[in-house]
Symmetry: C2
Subunit: 132 residues, 2 copies
DNA sequence: ATGCTCCCTGTAGCAACTACAGGGTCAAGA
DNA sequence: TCTTGACCCTGTAGTTGCTACAGGGAGCAT
């Protein structure tokens, strides 16, 4: 059994974040000490580690919730797990493509800056309408 | 002079968003009609277009605010403009790198799924602690 | 007069936390 | 024993950039 602070250190999670996960139902309310302190067992540690790892991989809390509830009924087919992961992957791909397009536009813009005063700056021009 | 709805259409911006920009001081409060309707002139249109273009390029509202106030004093050196743009570019680069690393991890994970039931799924295993 | 579309203000919601304020608890040292 | 300090508690509000109402008023056409 460990305190919320110890759990936080073990999982690299802020105490407030742990309480937040409890509030939104992602972590079960743990047992309390006589002084009303939360105490966590190893299962809670494993569950929070799972959550953090999933979050680090960019899954949304809703996706994490789904993954957790699927894991809790471990006898089912893992098709849904696969689906969630692939959907997330597709989203990442989309974001990468968007950002690469953005980078191209930005770099063109930045390279055009001649370095005079602002009224003649090409960056500002590129942002402004009606002066193409 | 145009109504808020017309300005919204012209800049592809929702009416609520325009009011929001006004509330946070990004757009000046416009003139009003007798019936208390906002009316916008061409300058407001240009300003909102600038904002939208900057937002499309991923600048934060704070960055947009800075760019606008720099533009308003057009005689200054454009060093600061350049700086904002380069900072933003660096952030985009960081995000791209992060997402590419993420994609690598995810694809490894997804490819490892053999398709049985959940308790043996490699995706779940990859997310879980203590079972490496 | 009635409907319809637009506009107004003010407030609350989204994601995923984070940061207090204003207290209580607990272990250790003087 | 008393006190100090680190930790914990609840509850609420802030962050970013909007978006969505609710409950009204304005303006125009029929
Ligand atoms: Zn290009
Ligand atoms: Zn320049
Ligand atoms: Zn790898
Ligand atoms: Zn699987």
């Amino acid at each position: 059994m460990r305190s919320i602070g110890a759990l936080g250190k073990a999982t690299n999670t802020k105490v407030e974040t742990i309480r937040y996960y409890e509030r939104i139902g992602l972590l079960a309310p743990p047992q309390r000490t006589d002084g009303n302190y939360r105490t966590y067992d190893d299962e809670a540690l494993a569950r929070l580690s799972f959550i953090r790892r999933s979050r680090d991989l960019g899954f949304s809390l809703d996706q994490v919730r789904a993954l957790l509830s699927l894991t809790d009924q471990g006898t089912q087919d893992c098709k849904t797990v696969d689906r969630i992961a692939r959907d997330h992957m597709a989203e990442i791909e989309r974001k990468i493509a968007d950002l690469i397009a953005l980078r191209h536009e930005l770099s063109t813009m930045i390279e055009s800056c001649g370095g005079g005063n602002i009224s003649g700056c090409r960056i500002i021009e590129a942002l402004s309408p009606f002066d193409n």
